[in-house]
């Protein structure tokens, strides 16, 4: 018997997590409903005579994605805590980093699914033209989502076995989200305003650097968070 390598084990864990979510759909539906409600509330609180839609929409988009993403990340270690399933993962002869990477991969897919529903809703409510901007927007979403998920997944692991994990996770994670949300919102504003993508390269470089640093750092740090 040969235990699977880092990527094969990560893929097996991600597939398992997605199968569970596909079977229950509870967290996905909650996140989608939360996103839509947030978009609607922002819409009704908006005074279009004071702030234009292109100035407001990027902020609404990233606030919504950040908080709905937290719901997904909280769920990812909740399924392991329920019946002590995390112990079976930890006994398996796979690198413990693969548990983090598998969870993060499943969370990226999950958050992307929520974004796929929420983005058209924002376009409709705020009359934002997506037609010419969808490709650069996709790049921004991907870069920012990877960064948010890396940090959020690590903190979800740390808080999973604490009381009030739902409260503790955002309190710990949101300060680390600022360096992602700020450039993501700025780049989104540039793209939605019809500016060439080259003008957003500085923001994209920040996102890329954050991704590289935090995916690596969180992967390496994860095994230390599960030591008793």
């Amino acid at each position: 018997m040969r235990a699977p390598g880092l990527l094969a084990a990560s893929w097996a864990i991600a597939r398992k997590d997605l199968a569970i979510e596909f079977r229950t759909r509870s967290a996905f539906l909650s996140s989608v409903v939360f996103s839509l409600l947030a978009i609607v509330i922002f819409y009704f609180a908006w005074d279009p005579t004071a702030v234009g839609p292109l100035a407001l929409a990027p902020g609404v988009l990233w606030v919504t994605f950040t908080f709905s993403g937290l719901l997904a990340m909280h769920r990812s270690f909740g399924v392991e805590a329920a019946d002590g399933a995390i112990d079976a993962l930890l006994v398996a002869p796979v690198a413990r980093e693969s548990i983090f990477l598998g969870k993060a991969l499943a969370n990226v897919v999950f958050v992307a699914g929520v974004q796929a529903v929420s983005l058209p809703a924002i376009a409709i409510f705020y009359n934002v033209p997506l037609a010419g901007a969808w490709l650069p927007l996709l790049g921004i979403l991907l870069l920012a989502t990877v960064g948010l998920v890396a940090v959020g997944t690590l903190f979800a692991s740390i808080t999973a076995n604490t009381r009030m994990a739902e409260l503790l996770l955002p309190v710990l994670a949101i300060p680390f989200f600022v360096p992602v949300v700020m450039p993501a919102a700025q780049a989104t504003a540039d793209v939605l305003s019809g500016r060439p993508i080259a003008e957003s390269f500085a923001w994209l470089r920040i996102l890329l650097a954050f991704d590289l640093v935090f995916v690596y750092a969180c992967t390496v740090a994860y095994p230390f968070t599960i030591e008793d």
């Binding site: 018997m1 235990a3 699977p4 399924v79 002590g84 112990d87």
Partner: protein
């Protein structure tokens, strides 16, 4: 004989409390240790150290020649806990197959079917775990623990929730694993069942082994009386 499980001077503290205090043991292929003791004696902590889930504060544990928690050592261990360690949204088959995949079992599907059949739960293979009774969930949990035919099987109260048929299937399975050369550590409050299975018996109290001996030839009734006096 090959030593499969070796623990030397294990100490594990939680804050000021010494949950495990200088525990040493060695089990060779085909040997089974029945571990008895009152609640809070440190039995589960010893098992978690031997599974690679907990690092000892001092001392070391090895599976074969490899020191825990190295993945090569963990891969030879099967763990049955008093918690099911299953995903209740997945079916019995999916749970066991996932464990087989993580252990790199060559034909995961066939091994899954075999493990479920050994616990007489193959007819519920495609039922979501959450729809199974506690006893059937325990059978699936045991199937998950043995799907990779581990050299070392650690069982914490494995009879919890099992009916007579399930208990008999588990006893047969543990005997079969022993005969196949696996080393077993079984934590149980059932002295008769434990002694019937084991080659060695130990009693823990306050983190220490207070009695350790060969189990063959022991009078279970007399042992039970002495055990009550020991842990009183």
């Amino acid at each position: 004989m090959t030593t499969l499980v070796a623990a030397t001077g294990l100490v594990r503290t939680f804050g000021a409390r010494r949950a495990v205090d200088d525990v040493s043991l060695a089990l060779s292929a085909g040997e089974c240790l029945a571990l008895f003791g009152p609640n809070g004696a440190g039995k589960t902590t010893v098992l978690r150290i031997l599974a690679g889930l907990l690092r000892p504060s001092s001392g070391e544990a090895r599976i074969g020649d490899v020191r825990l928690p190295d993945p090569a050592a963990r891969g030879r261990v099967g763990l049955i806990s008093h918690r099911s360690m299953l995903y209740d949204a997945l079916t019995a088959r999916e749970n066991v197959r996932f464990a087989a995949a993580l252990h790199g079992v060559p034909d995961a599907e066939e091994a899954t079917v075999r493990a479920l059949a050994a616990l007489r739960v193959a007819d519920r293979a495609d039922v979501a775990v959450r729809s199974l009774s506690r006893g059937l969930q325990q059978r699936v949990a045991i199937a998950r623990a043995i799907v990779h035919a581990p050299d070392v099987l650690l069982a914490d109260e494995p009879y919890t929730g099992l009916d007579a048929q399930g208990g008999a299937a588990l006893t047969a399975l543990l005997r079969e694993r022993r005969a196949a050369g696996a080393a077993l550590v079984v934590v149980t409050h059932h002295l008769h069942e434990g002694l019937a299975l084991a080659s060695h018996a130990a009693v823990m109290r306050a983190g220490r082994f207070v009695r350790f001996e060969r189990a063959e030839g022991l009078d279970a009734g007399r042992y039970a009386t002495e055990y009550q006096e020991l842990v009183a």
